[in-house]
Symmetry: C2
Subunit: 119 residues, 2 copies
Amino acid sequence: MNTFVKTTKAISDPNRVRILMALRAGELCVCRIIELLQLAPSTVSKHLTILKQAGLIEGRKEGRWMYYCLPQDPNSRAWDTLHWVFQSLESSSDVKDDEVRLAKIIKIDIEKLCEIYKK
Amino acid sequence: MNTFVKTTKAISDPNRVRILMALRAGELCVCRIIELLQLAPSTVSKHLTILKQAGLIEGRKEGRWMYYCLPQDPNSRAWDTLHWVFQSLESSSDVKDDEVRLAKIIKIDIEKLCEIYKK
DNA sequence: CTTATACTTCGCCAACTAACGAATTGAAGA
DNA sequence: TCTTCAATTCGTTAGTTGGCGAAGTATAAG
């Protein structure tokens, strides 16, 4: 019950759901997620921590950058949840909008992207 | 996205999940749910309202009593959610404890049960 | 070694949530 | 009609959540 509620709390915030949906296409550097959500880096980082603690995403550090992705083990309990989430939202217009925006964000060179939120 | 988050928020509270699990066995009068959860009637009523607005339960008034149950239409979108919830929690010890307690509560005559929380 | 960069953690605040008891509603029963 | 009673709504309070900017951390670049 405890872990179940932890999971449902993790997916009961629209921005966290947006992160999960974005990661369907593959792993993303935090700076691209920040650009997608248009939130402060600290806020995005907090969301990522909550998703990670619920076991819904995994993180990997490579040099200066931190990459997040969906669980690599397809037998992970988390995938039951993720499949349900993806199925529930497959026809969501918000998700489609994000897909379009994400496609553009992925094309931006990562060095240039990071400069954007340096301000 | 909006309705999805409404649903996930509804199932991200342990007491509301307990209500859903309890209703698997069939419809219940509010006073039995109060007895199961050991919460104030006003609190339970609020939880029931949240579940109802998320489409996860239905209510029916009969005389003095209000009965709640899971959606009668098995094709309801809510059942995708409910099946996932039930599957996720089928081996939860909290749920099993509630099943045992509920079996006893159902045997109590409804007139006598209501007197309990009149205090 | 020093500076810059890409996050993350901390501290704070406004908004929301779950809990309660008190007051209200609406259907039965006297 | 008047009262009783199951349940809901209202008002309040303590605790949680999501947001931000500032400070901290760890890696890369100079």
